[in-house]
């Protein structure tokens, strides 16, 4: 009786504590968003910020010149992530299908382990790899090598998310398909994969977002550039690199530039994320009905 009262109150208190801690965890998010917007907006509000590729003049305490912009970084990120996606997504999706459809074979276990390890591999190390593998032989930095680094980064993500989505499709669907006398590849590609499509797309989007936000792999592959570049065989600027490099420089104008780039980056990445989450929810709901 009395004891039960005590238990009830304790329980309530515990629940409260949990929620408090959760809110605490969200404070950084709020702060990051707030400061990025607060400090980035002044630069971004100038429309040309997104299109120009000018550096602000960089003497100490000189005013922000309105020609300044990060267009070249945006384009660079776009190009490199694009190339990376072209490489990583098809391979990743097929690999994911393999992992999901042939779950128990010993080889698939190795593949799974490898991709999990690859997901955990520090991006900087992947940068080193791309450098050693492409930059050294070709003797110059190139956006392409950066793209490759990003692809390596994306591949395991795509693989695992695809696997997750495909594995979410109940086995009954496969068996029903096979029981109708359909060949295995038709069942996998024409029945299961469509059913899992939203999940797969989500995975791809997430990997894209991740790649778009990465700095380390690009530092010594794409290296960066101060002008608008379209040729992937040469160095190229990227948004995160912009943020990283300018932020560390002691010039207010460049730091503002960095904040602006950060804002652009975060908007890009977060929007991709929200979209993918939305798709994913539909996927889960759908799979629930199957």
């Amino acid at each position: 009786m009395n004891r039960n009262h005590r238990r009830t109150y304790l329980s309530g208190a515990g629940l409260g504590l949990m929620y408090v801690l959760t809110l605490l965890a969200l404070i950084p998010l709020g702060l990051v968003l707030w400061f990025t917007i607060a400090k980035g907006l002044p630069s971004v509000i100038h429309p040309q910020f997104l299109f120009n590729s000018e550096l602000p003049p960089c003497e100490p305490r000189c005013p922000v010149v309105s020609q300044a912009g990060v267009g070249h970084a945006i384009v660079g990120t776009g190009i490199m992530v694009g190339i990376a996606s072209l490489i990583a997504i098809p391979v990743g999706v097929l690999a994911g299908i393999y992992l999901a459809e042939y779950r128990v074979t010993p080889w698939s276990n190795w593949v799974r382990l490898a991709s999990d390890v690859l997901v955990g591999t520090p991006s900087i190390a992947i940068g080193l790899f791309a450098y050693a593998f492409l930059v050294v032989p070709l003797h110059h930095f190139s956006a392409f090598s950066g793209a490759v680094a990003l692809a390596v980064l994306m591949l395991p993500i795509v693989t695992r998310t695809t696997e997750g989505a495909v594995a979410l499709i109940p086995n009954g669907l496969r068996e029903s398909g096979l029981a109708l006398g359909l060949p295995r590849w038709r069942v996998s590609l024409q029945l299961v994969l469509p059913a899992a499509a939203p999940g797969v797309i989500t995975g791809a989007l997430l990997s894209v977002a991740r790649a778009a936000g990465e700095t380390a792999p690009l530092l010594f592959t794409a290296f960066g550039a101060h002008i608008l570049e379209f040729d992937p065989s040469g160095p190229m600027q990227a948004l995160p690199v912009t943020v990283f490099k300018y932020a560390l420089l002691p010039y207010k104008s460049l730091q503002d530039q960095a904040w602006g780039a950060a804002l652009v980056l975060i908007v890009m990445v977060l929007s991709i994320n929200l979209i993918s989450r939305w798709i994913l929810r539909r996927q889960i709901a759908l799979a629930g009905q199957l």
Partner: protein, 315 residues
């Protein structure tokens, strides 16, 4: 009768070969192949340093491009220290969040929290970096480090506060690994069959008792795995740390002092690295980093898988 004999001899059933399996299987092999390629390449590039320093590399402390004498110990120390401190800070919060998010039924509040945590994961590390550099570090310097060093300064570990240093790096790291921690812990907790909770409640257990005596025990291994996985992330995190750790190639005597991590050394110095040994040494750092994370990750994977398997069996 003859038929029967024929039948009984046909022991193994003939399976037509599954071409599809081969195709996707080969494509999938790209992943492990890539991993091997990475390690081999780095090994190759690092050989000069490896041959030159041998095992000494891991235990010596000086880092002098001029004299070409390189030792990894300070970087290793910084890496490991920041990672563990970060986890120590993140773990309690992370588990709490997981518990809250794993609650059944979808309330708007919980939905909001969940989204928030996942967005936390989505924010690029460079953005954390710039934020930590200009907002978090100065703030923590004023409101944490100074007061602490004033009161506990006599303990050397809490002396000599600095804006950029181990502690602030760990702080930002903690924020960054939190999503990994929560995401996986939550999934593991969700994998705990709903029946368990219902049964506990039906037996007259309170929410708290249900959570701590039934839910968490079922998810224990998984949560531990999540922690290790987070550790892996923390070890490998580059940019944000690089921006706030202060870049001092020393083993500091205070947690507030500047230091260095494997990743940040590479990030800072690789592009300027010239000559024969210098780049090789840096690449060897990378190699060390990879191997450490590789071990840690494998450990984590084993744990997570085993726990989710248990959950499935209990179901």
């Amino acid at each position: 009768m003859a038929v029967r004999v024929e039948a009984k001899t046909a022991i193994v059933t003939s399976r037509p070969r599954d071409g599809f399996q081969w195709v996707v299987g080969i494509v999938a092999s790209a992943v492990p192949a890539l991993l091997l390629l990475i390690i081999l390449t780095l090994l190759l590039q690092a050989t000069p340093a490896i041959q030159h320093f041998g095992a000494r590399f891991l235990v010596t402390t000086d880092w002098n491009p001029v004299t070409d004498s390189f030792g990894a110990l300070p970087a290793i120390f910084g890496t490991v220290f920041t990672a563990f401190l970060a986890l120590a800070l993140a773990l309690p919060v992370g588990v709490a969040v997981a518990v809250v998010l794993a609650e059944p039924g979808h309330t708007t509040l919980r939905g909001f929290l969940g989204t928030g945590i996942e967005l936390l994961a989505a924010i690029p590390s460079v953005v954390y970096g710039i934020w930590a550099l200009y907002v978090l570090a100065p703030w923590s310097y004023e409101h944490i480090e100074i007061p602490v060093s004033e009161h506990l300064g006599f303990i050397g570990w809490f002396g000599s506060p600095a804006v950029r240093g181990l502690f602030n790096a760990s702080l930002v790291l903690a924020v960054m690994v939190l999503p990994t921690l929560t995401a996986i812990s939550r999934d593991v907790m969700k994998a705990v069959p709903r029946g368990l909770k219902e049964n506990a409640v039906a037996l007259g257990a309170t929410w708290w008792e249900t959570t701590w005596r039934v839910m968490l025990p079922s998810a224990r291994a998984g949560i531990f795995g999540a922690t290790i996985l987070a550790l892996g992330r923390a070890l490998g995190e580059t940019i944000a740390v690089t921006m706030v750790i202060g870049n001092a190639y020393i083993i500091p005597h205070s947690i507030f002092q500047p230091a260095y991590t494997l990743a940040s050394v590479i990030a800072n110095e690789f592009t300027e690295a010239t000559g024969m040994l210098y780049p090789a040494a840096l690449i060897e750092l990378g190699l060390v980093l990879i191997l450490v994370t590789l071990v840690v990750n494998m450990l984590a994977l084993v744990l997570v898988q085993s726990s989710t398997r248990d959950a499935r069996r209990a179901l």
